[in-house]
């Protein structure tokens, strides 16, 4: 569907951290009918990349194609890709009806009514944008982009300015709409929860470079680098020395702790690595654990802090010089009656230890 090949673009803009900011050698493939998310921290270049796709930035080199047709030199109007900018940019001098019908000629009324019905903004038709709430503006901007009948829908942080409840609702609506219309969608965001609620696949971008492309599960559980792991706020990242030990890796961490891990699929690993263990993949028990998998590591520690986050409780456990973050469900936490200062055991299974290179790729 959309193929980006070795795209390079440099911009001198104070909005970015450095004087000049560049998208470097970006290559991506978005499949037909896919909900694709571009995920990255603020200032990572994701909006810039989206603008390059729209034709709003004249790229330095590279190629953008859709269904094999090169559109790199096409003006934005000729691409006819639906674009919803971050601030929605609804035309203030036009009503909702005028905004949605902006791109249409001829049988405008019927198409506008159809799109307004689809997105659920028919009751707002005669209002001006200044009279709309954030969520309503988002829906109208989406309807305006859909009215074009786009082959591709490009959404730039479409729900970032909204409250949590509205954001969840609109994300569900976006996903449903995309499934109903089978419109290939590229959605830019910086929020993992938002990404998880909509994405079929995700590309992580930082400092103008694509760091990893994969399913949300792959990115969350098997991040390609420590940069991604840190951005994902994994919690447990340990520097270690890796030694091959049969079919497993033996990881020697600071403080003399040893972990077991799977050898990476490529079969290659460096001596200095970073081990990542997601907090929800660590088992926490009060007593000495039984039925432990043969290659699991058992650690002893003291509960240092309890962080209640609604349905989830994060438990910080001090094991010697290291601190581990363990995630428990609210019910599990309540049933076990865990308190600060309790002596506990942590079980880390080899399958849950993900090994990454210590230096950025």
């Amino acid at each position: 569907m959309i193929r980006i090949e070795r795209l390079n673009f440099t911009v001198a803009d104070a909005a970015y951290k450095a004087d000049t900011f560049a998208l470097r050698n970006v290559s991506l493939h978005v499949r037909p009918g896919e909900y694709f998310v571009l995920l990255g921290p603020t200032g990572s270049g994701k909006t810039l990349l989206l603008e390059c796709l729209c034709g709003l930035n004249h790229i330095d080199s590279g190629r953008v194609s859709i269904d094999g047709v090169d559109v790199t030199k096409l003006e934005p109007r000729s691409r006819r890709w639906g674009y919803v900018p971050q601030d929605y940019a609804l035309f203030p001098h036009m009503t909702v009806r005028g905004n949605i019908g902006f791109s249409l000629a001829g049988a405008v009324a019927a198409r506008v009514a159809e799109v307004m019905e689809l997105v659920g903004v028919a009751h707002l038709a005669d209002r001006f944008p200044q009279k709309l709430s954030g969520g309503e503006k988002q829906r109208v901007a989406l309807a305006r982009a859909l009215a074009v009948g786009p082959r591709v829908l490009l959404l730039d942080e479409p729900v970032s300015a909204l409250d949590e409840q509205t954001r969840d609702e609109l994300c569900r609506q976006l996903k449903r709409l995309q499934q109903d219309t089978q419109t290939t969608t590229v959605h830019v965001c910086h929020n993992f929860t938002e990404m998880l609620s909509v994405a079929d696949r995700v590309a992580v971008i930082d400092q103008g470079q694509i760091l990893q492309v994969g399913t949300p599960r792959e990115v969350l559980e098997r991040p390609a680098s420590t940069r991604i792991a840190r951005f994902a706020q994994v919690g447990n990242l340990l520097s270690a020395r890796a030694v091959a030990d049969g079919t497993r890796l033996r990881l020697v961490c600071p403080g003399g702790i040893e972990l077991r891990a799977r050898i990476p699929e490529s079969g290659e690993f460096e001596a200095d690595v970073v081990a990542m263990i997601r907090p929800e993949n660590i088992a926490l028990t009060a007593n000495v654990p039984e039925n432990v998998p043969p290659e699991a590591t058992i650690l002893q520690g003291t509960v240092a802090e309890l962080i209640e986050l609604g349905p989830v409780v994060k438990v910080r456990v001090a094991c010697g010089a290291l601190e581990w973050l363990v995630s428990l469900g609210k019910r599990e936490y309540t049933e076990r009656n865990i308190r600060v200062g309790d002596r506990v055991h942590l079980v880390v299974a080899a399958e849950n230890v993900h090994v990454m290179r210590s230096s950025p790729p």
Binding site: R77, P85, P92, R144
Partner: protein
């Protein structure tokens, strides 16, 4: 005229303590001081006219004000300045847009050149025009029937050169304040760059263009120096209201000169208030 989306934003009033009230009072005091100073000048003028003419003769004096000479000057002032507004905006809108949106070599120089008529004494514009129409190009322009020196057309040319910069500046500031993203979105919705300008940027710049027009008009209505040099002060021919004021005071009829000035003030005030209320929705 004033579309509903252009309503003035509602000003919120935070809870104000003594400091807040004192600050507001000091800010408003400057407004009051300026308005009172101007009002004092007008009152002094009115007082002078009434004292000089006397209450009993005010009726006869009013007849002087509607004499054919003054009415002709009034009409000439109105139509030339209005024409200047139209022509001035024809330049100001594209120039303001170009200077706001495009980056090109020498842009800083061009930006400064645009401000020159604001800085230069207006008299210099008249002198420069007189000199220009003595050059080969100037003579050629006159040879094809476009005579400006000592003609009514010359009044418009002077007004245009002196006042358009104010309009360009106002329009450029307005386009600066409009996020180019609106036009970008319009382009993704099928507009050409020109289409995005006419359908999005131009309507959104509505207020700025009206303000630009007001600035051009007020400046054009009041200029005098370049007209004296370039078109002269021929009664009933190239005489506009500022010329009338000059001619009347030069022959010693101070009270008539002041009365014409007051007439100009009233006319301008009525026009400005009307445009602000009807065109910009101000109260």
């Amino acid at each position: 005229m004033n579309p509903s989306w252009f309503r003035q934003p509602r000003l919120t009033a935070p809870v104000a303590g003594l400091h807040g009230r004192l600050f507001a009072a000091s800010m408003l005091a400057f407004v009051g001081l300026f308005v009172v100073a101007l009002a004092a000048l007008v009152v002094a003028d009115v007082g002078y006219v009434v004292a000089d003419v006397g209450w009993a003769n005010l009726g006869n004096f009013a007849a002087v004000l509607v004499s054919p000479e003054i009415l002709a000057a009034l009409w000439l002032s109105l139509w030339t300045s209005t024409t200047t507004v139209i022509l001035g905006l024809v330049f100001a809108v594209p120039m303001g847009y170009a200077l706001s949106r495009y980056r090109f070599p020498g842009r800083a120089v061009v930006d400064s050149v645009v401000d020159l008529p604001i800085i230069l004494p207006p008299l210099v514009v008249g002198l420069s025009l007189l000199v220009f129409f003595q050059t080969g190009v100037g003579r050629w322009i006159e040879s094809i029937g476009l005579e400006f020196a000592f003609q009514k057309k010359g009044i418009i040319l002077c007004q245009l050169l002196v006042s358009t910069s104010f309009g360009i500046r106002a329009v450029k500031l307005t386009f600066d304040g409009i996020d180019p993203r609106f036009e970008h979105v319009a382009m993704t919705l099928g507009c050409t760059r020109a289409g995005a300008f006419f359908r999005v940027a131009l309507p959104m710049a509505y207020r700025g263009i009206i303000v630009g027009g007001i600035l051009i008009w007020t400046r054009a209505l009041g200029i005098f120096g370049p007209l004296m040099v370039f078109v002269g002060a021929a009664r009933m021919r190239t005489e506009v209201l500022p010329t009338t004021i000059y001619l009347e005071q030069s022959i010693g009829r101070i009270e008539v000169a002041l009365a014409v000035a007051i007439l100009m003030l009233v006319l301008t005030a009525v026009a400005l208030v009307t445009i602000r209320v009807v065109g910009l929705g101000e109260r």
